[in-house]
Structure formats: structure tokens, C-alpha cells
């Protein structure tokens, strides 16, 4: 197991170098003046230009620039935002909110996936199964911003069940609606995984052997069918945790949740590209780290990988 962890961590090194390089390349090797690009629609003032030129070492050759930028990333120096705040500081203040939202969404997604997927799989081809597959497909086709608007309009405006936006109150309750919306638009993947593996597991030889041992369905369904089917669902939920940490921009923007995504959202619509790049870098690195953890989780859950 330890060897597996080490190998997985070593594999992450080229990925880390590659991703940072790609992000850097996208910004600084594009045609045109990167400083202008970083300012987007804004007119740069000379002081800010000087700060940026110093931060990104634009007077040096491209690869030297990248190495120096990498050094900055590694030492945790991601520059400042347009309003002059340290990026790390902003990130530190906003990340807990995002984490809370994402955790809630992932837990909801996991529960929906497991419960609906299990029932669907056990009743394959029956009414519940057909209905849940269609519902999941429709929900999955809803772009997240459309789903959020629907929630805002019906739950927030029309029926007045919950606030239209979150704002300063970042309690669990206040963020429940956006978290649920996220969960509803993404649970289809997990639910189909669960359903598919339940259907497959039901016709597995070892399940038949379990019946032949004299076990009843009450034991076989949780121990031999659900347990085996959970492996892909758990890893899928963990993967969507990573994807969501990096992908709450629109949700937090629309629901005005003061998290990392919202900061990125504001930077995008204001055209503050330097901030956009810093935040995308952080989110990508987080995503890479979560993916490593997902692989390790998979190894914990599946003994065939654990004991190589």
C-alpha cells in the first residue's frame, strides 16, 4: 500500500509541472501583450503594470519566466488581486465557504446516487427504474445555471421558501438549496454507476453462490450486491468532489455565495485576468491533489488494487 501511495505521488510530479506550465503557456505565449491580456478590458495604470512585470519577470526569456513563476507557486506566492489583497489571503478567507457548499452537494449527490441507483438496479425494467432513468437524464441535461435560475425563481421568488441568494449568511441551511441543485444536476452519473453495477452484481456468479450457501436476500443485497457496487460510486463522488471544488464558479456567482468560485466569477466578469489566472492555478492544483486522494481511496476500497 505504501509503495502504491509513493508511486501515485511520483506520478503526480510531471502532472504538476505540466499543468502549471500549460496555464502559464496559455497566458503568456498567446499572441499579443500578456500585460494587456491580463488587464482584459481595463486600462492598465503604470504602477500596476510594473507590479505585474516584476511578478511574472516579463523581461526574461520564456522558460526562465516559467521557472520563476513555478518557484512563486511552490512558495505559495500567487501575487495580489486588483484590489491589492494578497491572493493567498483571499483564498484562505473564501475556501471554507466553498468547501462547505461542495461537501454538502457531494453528500447529497452520494445519497441520491446510492438510494435511487440501488432501487433502480434491483427493479430493473420496472416502472420505478424507467421513470428514474428518464428523470435523471432530464436533470442531467439541465445546464447548472438554468437549474439555479429555476430554483431561484420557484423556491426563492414564487414560493418564498428560501432566500433568492445566499449573501453573507453561509450557514449550512442557507446554502442547502444551491447544494441540492448541484447534487440534482450531477447525481445521474453516480446513480447510473450504482444501477449498472447492481444489475451486473445481481447476475454475478458469487451472488448465486451466496444464495446457494443458504443466505437470504436480506443479507445478500447489502453485503454482496450493494457493497461491491459502492466502489465505483464512492470513487465517482470523490471525483465529483474534486470537480466541484474547481467548478463552483457559476453556482457561487449566481447564488452570490462568498466562496472561491464567486471570487473567480467576479474577476471574470470584471475582466481581472491576473486574478483569474491565480485562482485557476490554485483550483487546478487542488483538483490534482483531490484526484490523487481519489485513487488512494479506490485502493482502500478494492482489495484487488490494495494488495498488488
Amino acid at each position: 500500500m505504501l509503495r502504491y501511495i509513493l508511486r501515485r505521488l511520483l506520478q503526480a510530479v510531471p502532472v504538476f509541472l505540466g499543468t502549471t506550465f500549460l496555464i502559464y503557456f496559455m497566458v503568456f505565449a498567446m499572441p499579443g501583450n500578456p500585460i494587456v491580456a491580463l488587464f482584459g478590458d481595463k486600462t492598465p495604470n503604470p504602477a500596476q503594470v510594473a507590479v505585474l512585470e516584476a511578478q511574472y519577470n516579463l523581461d526574461k526569456p520564456f522558460f526562465v519566466q516559467y521557472v520563476l513563476y513555478l518557484k512563486n507557486v511552490l512558495t505559495g506566492d500567487l501575487g495580489t488581486t486588483f484590489s491589492g489583497r494578497n491572493v493567498n489571503e483571499v483564498f484562505g478567507a473564501t475556501f471554507p465557504v466553498t468547501l462547505k457548499l461542495v461537501l454538502m452537494a457531494v453528500v447529497l449527490e452520494f445519497v441520491l446516487s446510492v438510494v435511487i441507483g440501488l432501487i433502480s438496479g434491483l427493479r430493473e425494467g420496472k416502472y420505478f427504474d424507467n421513470a428514474s432513468v428518464v428523470v435523471a437524464l432530464v436533470l442531467n441535461s439541465l445546464p447548472v445555471f438554468v437549474a439555479l435560475f429555476l430554483a431561484q425563481y420557484f423556491i426563492g421568488i414564487k414560493w418564498g421558501l428560501a432566500p433568492v441568494t445566499v449573501g453573507r449568511d453561509t450557514s449550512w441551511g442557507a446554502m442547502f438549496v444551491p447544494a441540492l441543485v448541484i447534487a440534482l444536476t450531477i447525481y445521474v452519473t453516480g446513480m447510473r454507476l450504482m444501477r449498472g453495477s447492481v444489475i451486473e452484481a445481481r447476475s454475478e456468479d458469487y451472488v448465486r453462490t451466496a444464495y446457494a450457501k443458504g443466505l437470504t436476500s436480506r443479507r445478500i443485497v447489502p453485503v454482496h450486491i450493494a457493497r461491491n457496487s459502492l466502489i465505483p460510486v464512492v470513487t465517482n463522488s470523490a471525483a465529483s468532489f474534486g470537480a466541484l471544488i474547481a467548478g463552483t464558479t457559476i453556482t457561487e456567482g449566481i447564488y452570490n455565495i462568498p466562496g472561491v468560485g464567486n471570487t473567480l466569477f467576479q474577476a471574470i466578469i470584471r475582466g481581472e485576468n491576473a486574478t483569474v489566472v491565480s485562482f485557476v492555478t490554485i483550483l487546478t492544483l487542488l483538483y490534482v491533489i483531490v484526484n490523487i486522494l481519489v485513487d488512494l481511496l479506490y485502493a482502500v476500497l478494492d482489495p484487488r488494487i490494495r494488495y498488488v
Partner: protein
Amino acid sequence: MSERHAEHYVAPVDDNEKIEVDSVRLGDRRSNLWIDAWRDLRRRPLFYVALVIVCVVALAAAWPTLFTQVAPNRGCELALSNGGPTAGHPLGFTRQGCDVYSRVVWGARTSLSVGMLVVLITAFIGIPMGALAGFFGGKVDSILSRIGDIFFSIPYFLAAIVVMSVLSENRNVLTIAFAIAGFAWASLARIVRAEVLRIKNLEYVAASTAVGRSRFATLVGHVLPNSLTPVIVTLTISLGSAIVAEAALSFLGIGLGSSVMSWGNDISQAQVTIKTAPMALFWPSLFLTITVLAFIMLGELVRDGLDPKARARR
């Protein structure tokens, strides 16, 4: 053990039932994976629903004037801002007083072009990368797969945000398609690689090599055609996701310019008035959702049709 004499039973010999070993009985109809899948799809009503929606959207994209005579950007009067439906304007007006119906029809072209371009670029990069890595293995695989891992490790929507933010001067259908597909190909490459790895160890591939076909000819002639099933499904579904991604980027204001008809742009502009004029927000959202649903549904149905196990269970 009590010794009993078991009787020797012989079934009556039916003269008509001659014992033939493995005689060939061909059905009336030819059958292979694609023929069977097509037969299956034709029996499913949802397939027709999805197909009709896709065709209508394609028609609207190619010839919007078939559906509306109202120009989407001209004749917008602020006096009509967020106005309700009137004769000739069945879905009412936007905040700028433009005809919602006309804008929705013209928006199809943008969505579909972005979707199709993304699919083309994704396939063009993803299939060769995955196929070469999986088929040749060894160093080729190590290098191509590491490259793929790097692209895979940047969520494609975040990457597209960076590219589109930086490209403030050149935001058009082509750049947006490249921004999305430039990273989305990595997951297709993974799927192709896995499938090629599975196929290349089958005996018909060895038989092809033993006949004297070159490795490359075997890849193109036998391995690739048999790895296409998941590729077709993934690409159909990714056409839907690409349309969503374009709308989302436009929604963030880093997609297409506001003068371009795009469902994302319209949704973005209408969100401000969600309380007062929800319908201007509703219509482009509805068309966007239905189009995406049609593509995803098509992909899922094709997946079912191409899977003999799923077919047998129905």
C-alpha cells in the same frame, strides 16, 4: 450403501430428429453489431423524439429563416423592453426589446456550430492519441498518456475560462471551440486507449498480423473500427456538453460578443430581470435544455443499442 440396480432407460428414437452436428441454420436477416443496433433503435419511440429534435435544431441552424421572418437584432425597440407576446412575436421581447422567438431560432446556429466543432476537434486529437498509446504501448504509451494526464488534470471549463479571458480580442465560434476541445479531448483519449487495449489482445488482431498486415494497417483495419462504440456514444454526449459549455462561457461574458445570437448570451442578459420578466430567461433556457437533452438521449440510446447485453435484458 444399499446396492440397487438402476434401470437402463433409453429415450425413444425419433427418426425425424436426425443427429446433425453443427449444421448451419441462417436466419433470413443478416446481423452484426451495427445492423442489430439499428434494428433496436428503430423500435424505440424515444429515439424518434430525440432525432426529430436534433433535426429541427439542425434545420434552424442551417436555415433560420425557415422558422422566423423577424430579424433577431433589427427593429429592437426599447419601448417593447420585456414586453409580453404579441401577434408575430409569440414569445415576447427581451430587455432590449428584441424578438425572443427570433433570437432563440438564430441562437441554434451558434450552439450547434460550437458543438460540432468541439466534437470534430476532440475526435481529431483524442482518437489518435488514445489509439496510438493503447496500440503501441511501451514508451509511446508512457509519453502520450502522460501528456493526456496533464490535459486531463486541468478541468476543461477552467482552462476554457483562462483561454477565453486572455483572448478578449478574438472571441469567436472557432476560438471558443478550441478553448473547450483543447482540454476536453483528454478524456476521450482515455476511453479510446482503454478500448484499444482491450481489442488489441483479441485473437483476430493476432490473426491479422500473422497474415502479414503491418501493425499500423491492423490498427486502422481491425482495432479502430471495433473500438468505435464508446467513442460514438461519448462524442454524441459531448456535443451536448459543449453546447452547455459555450452557453456557460457566454453567460460569464467571456464567450461570444453580445452582438452574436447565443442562448448563453440571452440567458446572461435576462438574468438581471429574473424577478420581473422571467419569461425572457425561460425561453432560451428551455431551448438550450431541450437541445442538450436530445443529444444526451441520443447518445444513451445508441449506447443501449450497441450493447448486446442491455438489448437482451429488455
